[in-house]
Subunit: 342 residues, 2 copies
C-alpha cells in the first residue's frame, strides 16, 4: 500500500498549502533562536523587546526570488543566513549590537515546508555565528508567487551615540572591516559558470563552483560581515561608518556627500584586499553586497580589531585612489534586472 | 514635436525602472510622515527610535498582490492605509501607543512611481488619522514580480505591562472595539459584484460598489481600527486583548487557549454589531480583517471609550453564543488562495 497523499506521510515533501498556516508557523518557530532581549517573544499580537538605554536602532531589508536570489544557487539555509547577515551589518554600521530580528516570509503555496525550515536554520546559525544573543522575536507568514523574505533588525547602542555617515572630517583615517569585491566576483562566476547552456541558473554547476571557490561564492550566497567590529569602531571613536552594500565607490561617495569631505584611497592597501583576479581592484571598488564596514577614525586612533587602513579623508568632495579620480558606479536593483526565475 | 520618452516628460507616467532607486526613494521619502519618536530618521544604515521606558513593542505584516489585495480593487492610497492600519492594530492590541513604522516595498520595474507615491500618501494619512505622532522611520526598496509591502510597527507601552492574550480569568467582561464582519462582507461583495463576466477583478464595478456600500467596502480596502482604544483598555486594566484579524471565533479561541478560560458571547450584542444582512451574525463571528480589538476586562470595570460588551469569560475552554457551541473557522492565507492577478 503506497497511495501516498502528497505531503502526507513524508514530512520532507509537505507543502505550505498542504499543512496550513498554523502548522507551518509552529514548525518554523520552534527552529528559530530566541533573543536574549525578548521580554515577550513570538505568539502574541506583537513582541516586546528590551531597549536598555531608552533607544533602539532598526533597519529592514527585503530579498525576493529573481532579483535578489535564485533557488538554483542559494539553499534555504543560505537565504536565511544572508538576510540575517545583511540586516545585522546595517545595525553594526551604526555602532550598535544586534538584539533581535522580525522575520516576514511570503511563499508560493506549493513551497516545501522543508525550504522554510532551512531558512529558519540559516537565520539561527547566522545569529549564533555573527551576533550571539540576537534572535527572532516575531514575524509574519504570507502567500506570494515569489518567495520573499522581509527582515527587520534591532540593535542596542549601549548608551553611545549612533555612528552616522555625516561625522567625518578631513585628515582622518579611512578603514574597512571585511572583504571587498568577493561577493561581486562570486556573483559574476555564478552568472558565467553557474548556468546551463541556455544561460539559466544551474544547481549542479553552482555547487561545483562553490566547492572550487568557496570564499567568493560563499561571500555572495552566505556572507559573514564583521558584525562585532561595528561596536569596536564606535568604541574607538569612529566619526562615520556605513555598511558596504552597493560597492565601496558608491558607498564612499555617500559618506563623502553626507560628511562633506573627500576620500583618497590607498591603491596598495586596496589591492591587498581585492580578489586575486585580473580586475580585482575594480571589483573591490565597484562590487556590492560584501556588507563590510567602512569607517572613518580620528587621526592617530588605534585601528579596532578587524579593520584595515585603506585611505584618508581630505578637504573637498572627491573620491580618488592614489590621487586619481575614481569613475565607477555601484548597483541599482532596478537597472539590469531580469525577472527570470531560477 | 511629441516623441516622448516613456516616463520622461510626464512625471505621472514615470516607472521605477525608468527613474532608478535613488530618485524613487527620494520621491517617496519626502511624502512620508516623520515620527516624533525618530531620533534619527531615514537616510543612514539604520534608524534610531526612542523607547522611553526601556522597552518597545514591535510587529510585522506582509501584503502581497494576489493573495492579499488586487490593484483593480485597491488604490495605492488604500494599500498604504491598510498595511499601516493592520500593523498599528497589532501594536494597539498590546495596549501600546504606536511610535513608528519601517516600510519595505518590492515592486515590478514597470510600476508607475505614482502608485508608490499614493502608497506613501496612504501611510501618511493612516498615521495622521489613527495614530497621530507615528510616522515612518526607515525602509527598503526592492524589485519583485509581485507588488509586496512589508511593514514593521513599533509602539510605546508608557511604563505599563503589555496586555497579552493569556491573562484573562473566568467571570470577566468580554468587549470589542471596532466593527465585526464588515471587512469580510466587503470582500464577499467584491468577489461577487466587483468582478467582470469572467470573474476577474474589475475596477469600474468595484468603484461603483464602494460608492453604494462605503462602510463595507471601505472596511475591507482601507480599515480604520480603533487604535487609541488599545491604550484605553490597558489603562482600564484589561487582562487580555488581541487584534481581530482572522475572525472573532478563531481569535477568541486563541485567547481561550492562551488564558485557559471559556467565553460565552451575547447573541443580542453580537447581532447589534453585525452587518445588516441575512448572515450577518455568521460574518461577525467568522469574518476576518476588521482589525478590531477584543479585550477582557475585570468584572465591574467601566468599559473604556469605544468598547462594547459582547460576552463574559467562564470556567472551561468552550466558545459559545448564548450557551450554544460555535462551529466556524477563520481565514488561512494558504487555503483557497488562487494566484490570479487583478
Amino acid at each position: 500500500m503506497s497511495m501516498e497523499r502528497p505531503g502526507g506521510s513524508d514530512p520532507s515533501r509537505a507543502t505550505l498549502g498542504g499543512l496550513g498556516e498554523l502548522e507551518v508557523l509552529d514548525r518554523i518557530t520552534r527552529r528559530l533562536p530566541a533573543a536574549t532581549s525578548a521580554l515577550l517573544g513570538p505568539g502574541d499580537d506583537a513582541a516586546v523587546v528590551a531597549a536598555p538605554d531608552g533607544r533602539f536602532v532598526t533597519t529592514t531589508d527585503l530579498m525576493v526570488h529573481g532579483p535578489d536570489f535564485r533557488l538554483a544557487w542559494s539553499s534555504g539555509h543560505d537565504l536565511g543566513w544572508k538576510i540575517a547577515a545583511s540586516n545585522l551589518a546595517d545595525v553594526a554600521a551604526m555602532g550598535a549590537v544586534p538584539s533581535g530580528l522580525l522575520v516576514g516570509l511570503a511563499a508560493p503555496s506549493a513551497t516545501p515546508v522543508a525550504l522554510l525550515e532551512a531558512i529558519a536554520d540559516g537565520l539561527r546559525d547566522a545569529c549564533a555565528a555573527l551576533a550571539p544573543g540576537c534572535g527572532v522575536v516575531g514575524g509574519d507568514l504570507s502567500a506570494s508567487a515569489s518567495l520573499t523574505l522581509a527582515v527587520t533588525a534591532f540593535g542596542d547602542l549601549e548608551g553611545r551615540a549612533p555612528v552616522r555617515r555625516d561625522g567625518a572630517s578631513a585628515g582622518q583615517t579611512v578603514a574597512v572591516a571585511g572583504t571587498l569585491g568577493r561577493a561581486a566576483l562570486g556573483l559574476r562566476l555564478l552568472f558565467t559558470e553557474g548556468v546551463d547552456a541556455a544561460g539559466e541558473p544551474d544547481a549542479r554547476r553552482a555547487e561545483r563552483l562553490r566547492a572550487e571557490h568557496p570564499a567568493w561564492i560563499g561571500a555572495q550566497l552566505a556572507p559573514s560581515p564583521p558584525i562585532a567590529a561595528g561596536r569596536l569602531a564606535a568604541l574607538a571613536g569612529a566619526t562615520a561608518m556605513l555598511d558596504l552594500s552597493d560597492g565601496l565607490a558608491l558607498d564612499a561617495r555617500r559618506l563623502i556627500r553626507a560628511s562633506g569631505v573627500g576620500i583618497d584611497l590607498d591603491g596598495v592597501a586596496l589591492s591587498a584586499l581585492a580578489p586575486d583576479v585580473a580586475d580585482g581592484l575594480e571589483l573591490a571598488l565597484a562590487g556590492g553586497e560584501d556588507h563590510s564596514l567602512l569607517a572613518v577614525l580620528p587621526d592617530g586612533a588605534a585601528l579596532p580589531a578587524g579593520f584595515v587602513r585603506i585611505g584618508r579623508t581630505l578637504p573637498g568632495d572627491a573620491l580618488t585612489v592614489d590621487g586619481r579620480p575614481v569613475d565607477l558606479s555601484g548597483w541599482d536593483p532596478y537597472a539590469g534586472w531580469n525577472g527570470a526565475a531560477g
